[in-house]
Amino acid sequence: MLNETEKAYFKALLAIKEMDYSGAAGFFRFAENQFADAPEFRILKETTELLIAVKEEIFEIENERIEIEEILSDGQETEFR
């Protein structure tokens, strides 16, 4: 039977191909024990993780909402100029 760690490495590559980066990161983590010393593996794993972080940051910025709070002094409307 195939080695599960090796399978995970290939599944990570397939996930990248399908642009499922979170899935790929999960498979990379599973395969890490066997391939941690392989430079190619490390580059792919770390690039995927960096990409996920960048995507999260973009999501946060794009979904940032500015909340405007109007303060009324003593319940009276204030005229702003």
Partner: protein
């Protein structure tokens, strides 16, 4: 350039890099897909499920890949091992299974041969020692040493200090064993044993080297 623009630029660069890296591995990924599929067939076959149709379809999809030498050596070995597993579960009396068994033989003829595992076994270097006898020997001599009268009225910590000195100076391993036992006893009774453990480790390192000291 805004922060968002910088991040979008970085996102596109990273995605492009990953896409190209995976593209370069396309051949290996394809081969993996084939092997993974065969692995699934082999697992099902070992569970006693009918795999004839899937195996037949697998052969027809991958014969060309084999003929054109598109499998690496390690991939060929994986396939050969999986086919070996499947072959052992095929029932030769069934015509369809018989046909598939012949196809497996044909693949073998083309070099898809399972790796033979060579297991070398070495006899034990010496007859098994009487470990229990050795342990009781150490314990008995340890008790005799402590009850020799030499340590009358002294605190156990001071006795341990003496035993450690003997362990460092004498060849007899009994002192090392006794020191270890005393340290463990003191630990169980809430004493700080750190410095004694360090001294014992140093003695062990000096006597047996680093491997045995762990």
């Amino acid at each position: 350039m805004s922060r968002l623009e910088v991040l979008k630029g970085l996102e596109s660069t990273l995605q492009g890099f990953l896409a190209r890296a995976v593209e370069a591995e396309e051949e290996r990924i394809d081969a993996f897909r084939c092997i993974d599929k065969l692995d699934g067939i082999a697992r099902d076959s070992l569970r006693g499920r009918l795999v004839s149709a899937r195996l037949g379809s697998w052969f027809s999809q991958n014969t060309n890949r084999l003929e054109t030498d598109r499998f690496s050596k390690s991939e060929v070995t994986s396939i050969a091992n999986l086919l070996g597993d499947i072959r052992s579960g095929l029932d030769d009396s069934d015509p369809e299974s018989h046909k598939l068994a012949r196809e497996i033989e044909r693949w073998r003829g083309k070099g898809v041969v399972p790796k033979r595992k060579l297991v070398l076994k070495l006899k034990p270097r010496s007859a098994e020692r009487d470990l229990l006898g050795l342990l009781t020997g150490f314990l008995t001599r340890g008790v005799e040493h402590l009850e020799s009268g030499e340590f009358e009225g002294r605190h156990l910590l001071s006795i341990l200090d003496d035993v450690l000195k003997s362990a460092a100076a004498k060849e007899d391993k009994m002192y090392i064993h006794l020191a270890g036992a005393m340290i463990y006893f003191l630990k169980m009774n809430g004493y700080k044993i750190g410095p004694f453990v360090r001294r014992l480790r140093e003695i062990e390192n000096e006597r047996f080297g680093h491997i045995n000291a762990e």
